[in-house]
């Protein structure tokens, strides 16, 4: 979960970097390096993905079969006919061509190779330009940005399918990749706003970063909050309205018991409250408010990931041992909660460490970008 959280942030950074080249943006030059540094964590995330990938590939420890149910699928198993288990067996048999450890490993490796290459290309050339000041590098990045965007879209979609959607191997939704992408961008823009404001407070890049850039990043954060809500609503509304059993199960477990409150909290905290808070002009132009909003959204994005992952983990624990009494279940929830926090601290810590290293290794802004002057002079009117 924490891994997906960080992954989505980095992918958001990568998306932003590619997008700026694709649109030949001028205003964003001074904030682009931060995005490149966030994307630059991807190689470390490749290493951090190993526990998941190796566990799936090796089928060890056994608990991976609780996490990814399809990993524990045995095609030869005999199940009683006309039961839910038989249906599941039948479906998993059909999906075996996609949901098998070998192909899973190959896919994940493929995504990271592509991302690594994209980060290397865009971040590398940007840093190279700091030294050479060669505008040709900008042209080169621009000309490759379109194809990179296509690669990015495909890899991100399927990464979302692989890591998150297959947690429930029977469930499916065509919009899922877009949902992951939209949430990741909310997280990324929050992180970007937070980093910029903190850098500014710490007295770094003060001449380059201005309230105008904060305002624009705030606008993008706001836009993606709304976009996330739009995508989330589209998915929920259509599944709710059609009410087909093979789809509603996914939402059903999120509407029962304590998850009901959590789902409502997600709606309020991830959309309603920030929407109201950020819709005006001034909060985006006031660093203190922006910092608070960005920190909150970062937290909410983490909660969104929690909401995507955890109901399945809980389901598998409960289904594994139906005799669990309430005290045990409560104890499990507490240890789970503790694990969540420690895991976030661990993975998040590594993420921040790598991001900080990236920031230290190159100038904080692309000092010789040919469009730097546009960005420096940029004003919202």
């Amino acid at each position: 979960m924490s891994f997906c959280f960080c992954l989505s942030l980095s992918l958001g950074g990568l998306f932003f970097t590619i997008l700026q080249h694709l649109t030949r943006a001028g205003w964003s030059v001074v904030v682009r390096r931060v995005a490149e540094n966030v994307a630059g964590v991807l190689p470390v995330l490749a290493v951090l993905s190993l526990p998941i990938v190796v566990a799936v590939a090796a089928g060890w420890p056994d608990s991976i079969k609780d996490v990814y149910e399809w990993r524990g699928f045995d095609p030869a198993a005999h199940v009683a006919e006309a039961t839910p288990a038989a249906t599941a067996h039948h479906l998993l048999l059909k999906k075996q061509a996609f949901l098998n450890p070998t192909f899973f490993t190959i896919r994940i490796a493929g995504y990271f190779i592509i991302w690594w290459w994209l980060v290397g290309f865009f971040r590398g050339n940007s840093i190279r330009q700091d030294e050479t000041g060669d505008p040709g590098l900008t042209s080169a990045m621009q000309s490759r940005s379109a194809l990179s965007m296509v690669l990015f879209a495909l890899t991100t979609t399927f990464a979302a399918v692989d890591f998150l959607m297959t947690l429930d191997p029977l469930w499916f939704s065509t919009i899922f990749g877009v949902y992951f992408f939209s949430g990741g961008n909310v997280g990324f823009f929050s992180l970007l706003a937070l980093t910029m404001c903190l850098l500014h407070r710490a007295g770094r890049a003060q001449k380059a970063l201005s309230i105008e850039h904060f305002h624009d990043v705030g606008k993008l954060m706001f836009a993606f909050i709304v976009f996330w809500a739009y995508i989330g609503f589209s998915q929920y509304m259509l599944i709710w309205y059609a009410n087909l059993p093979e789809e509603t199960g996914w939402y059903l477990i999120r509407q029962e018991g304590s998850w009901k409150l959590m789902s409502l909290f997600l709606l309020l905290g991830h959309f309603v409250a920030p929407f109201l808070a950020l819709v005006s002009r001034w909060p985006k132009r006031d660093p203190s408010t922006l910092i608070a909003a960005a920190a909150w959204m970062l937290l909410m994005h983490w909660f969104d990931m929690f909401w995507l992952v955890f109901p399945h983990a809980e389901q598998s624990v409960v289904s594994a041992d139906p005799r669990l009494d309430t005290i045990h279940a409560a104890a499990l929830v507490w240890t789970d909660g503790l694990q969540c926090v420690t895991c976030l601290l661990g993975v998040g810590g590594i993420f921040v460490w790598k991001m900080a290293r990236n920031m230290a290794s190159a100038s904080l802004i692309p000092t010789r970008d040919p469009r730097l002057h546009e960005s420096l002079a940029f004003e919202n009117i």
């Binding site: 505008p135 379109a146 499916f172 919009i175 990749g177 998915q235 509304m237 087909l244």
Partner: protein, 487 residues
């Protein structure tokens, strides 16, 4: 290339240099040149001959539309070949297509405005006009397909003594509200943005009728700083209001299909996929109209090659999103393990409507791939060809979605074919007539380019141009288009 940026007499600004932004308008242009060129379109004593030819054809088609509607009303919806199971055919296809075309205008004016894409200024006005006319065509179809048209007002929630209300849970009703709102806001936005330009026309008007008409329409605009201040605030607010509308309208249209349980209709990606498709089809229509218009009225230095290239890129980008959605649908149809879903998708590609499906794929997915190549984005014939392909392809996309899914659902006993009647085909042609008639009248009588906005993106507006304000209307002018041959 000479000093004014012309190559072989054509203004070329498609070059790309990261150190310098290429100009959107030739650098030697003064504000007055823009006014002269744009006002010239409507002030000319006679429009070009091509306008008359196009207008004659359009009005004839409009007459055909009227005849078809009269025939429909007096005979009944049976004149359309709609029956079980295909209860929606050309009518809803045309509705979705026209609403879709209506998306580009507001996207250009609202979203590109918020994204500070300055090149939108040359194309926003007529794209917005196109939006409004397309939505008028779209609104026509649900109105006439209801069977008992004299009760169409029941779609509105009118209090009545029978306490009868429309079904608020039906996406079809949401459609009425969504498209209605969209039409209202788009029309307001279009008109609001046009006020300064209408005032320009008023000030230059020679005849009393023109002076009076433009005078009324320009709402007493004087160009005072206070007017501009209010205007810009209003414009920003309308842009912010229209932006969610661009997304919501076609999302709601997609709900018409996606809230059902029909295989091929019910899939969660429908809302963003429909929106991308709408923008895709809308931009193709903008290109289709812009290419002949700039040629006929000599606007090539205002709607420049770079504008066209940018539109090609947007077509490529939104076309890729549509391709992504096609791919995702196919993947999930297989991945879901649902035999009905996979059947529907295979039936589209191989069944009785395979010809429509492959037309759609080649027009929507294959043709825009040409735009990966710079040469294709700069060649007018290729651009026009691709735009026409997309126009056709997007019509077929809706046709494929609607008809294939309806014709073969869960029960084989319930399957059936569909073949449009001549009335349906003539109604479609007639709606094109309605659209073109309105558009041609617009070109003739209203400012086709947002002059005031173009001027804000010219260097002169930022105090860097050499001849910012030395425009004297009495001075004999050398028209930039005329001087082309001398280069």
């Amino acid at each position: 290339m000479d000093i004014s940026g012309r190559v072989n007499g054509e203004f070329d600004n498609t070059w790309d240099d990261p150190q310098k932004r290429s100009p959107l308008v030739p650098e030697h242009y003064k504000f007055g040149d823009v006014t002269e060129q744009v006002c010239g379109v409507t002030e000319a004593w006679r429009p070009p001959k091509a306008w008359y030819v196009a207008f004659a054809i359009s009005v004839s088609l409009l007459g055909l539309l009227g005849a078809m509607i009269v025939y429909l009303f007096f005979t009944g919806v049976g004149v359309w070949n709609l029956n079980n199971p295909v209860g929606w055919g050309f009518d809803i296809t045309n509705f979705v297509v026209w609403v879709g075309i209506g998306h580009a205008g507001t996207l250009i004016s609202a979203i590109l405005f918020l994204f500070r894409q300055k090149w939108r200024t040359a194309i926003n006005r007529f794209a917005e006009a196109m939006t409004i006319f397309a939505v008028i065509c779209a609104l026509l179809f649900p109105g006439i397909h209801v069977g008992r048209v004299w009760l169409a007002y029941w779609m509105g929630p009118l209090p009545n003594q029978m306490a009868m209300w429309p079904n608020f849970r039906s996406p079809l009703l949401w459609d009425v509200f969504a498209v209605g709102t969209y039409f209202t806001v788009s029309a307001l936005f279009w008109y609001c943005g046009m006020i300064p330009d209408i005032a320009t026309l008023r000030d230059r008007a020679k005849g009393p009728i023109r002076r009076f008409a433009y005078g009324v329409l320009s709402l007493g605009w004087t160009g005072a700083a206070r007017h501009w201040h209010r205007f810009e605030r209003a414009y920003l607010v309308l842009a912010a209001l229209s932006t969610p509308l661009v997304l919501s309208v076609h999302s709601v249209v997609s709900f018409d299909f996606a809230t059902s349980v029909l295989p091929g209709w019910h899939t969660t990606i429908f809302p963003p996929y429909f929106v991308a498709g709408a923008i895709f089809g809308g931009f193709a229509m903008v290109l289709t109209l812009a290419i002949p218009a700039r040629q006929l009225w000599g606007l090539k230095e205002i709607i420049t090659a770079r504008h066209l290239e940018n539109m090609c890129k947007i077509i490529l980008a939104t076309g890729s999103m549509v391709g992504y959605a096609y791919g995702m649908e196919f993947f999930i149809a297989w991945y879901s393990g649902n035999p009905y879903e996979s059947f529907t998708f295979l039936a589209r590609a191989k069944g009785p409507f395979a010809w429509a499906y492959w037309t759609m794929i080649s027009c929507n997915v294959l043709a825009p791939q040409l735009f990966w190549f710079r040469a294709c984005r700069r060649s007018i014939p290729i651009m026009f060809f691709v735009a026409m392909c997309v126009n056709v392809g997007m019509w077929f996309e809706r046709f494929v979605i609607i008809v294939t899914s309806l014709s073969s659902d869960y029960l084989p006993a319930n399957w059936g074919g569909y073949r449009p009647s001549w009335v349906e085909i003539c109604t479609l042609l007639g709606s094109i007539g309605l659209f073109m008639t309105l558009f041609l009248l617009f070109i003739r009588f209203l400012p086709v380019i947002a002059m005031a906005e173009i001027k804000t993106v010219m260097p002169a507006a930022h105090g860097t141009g050499a001849h910012a304000f030395d425009y004297n209307p009495d001075e004999p002018k050398e028209h930039p288009q005329v001087s082309e041959g001398r280069q």
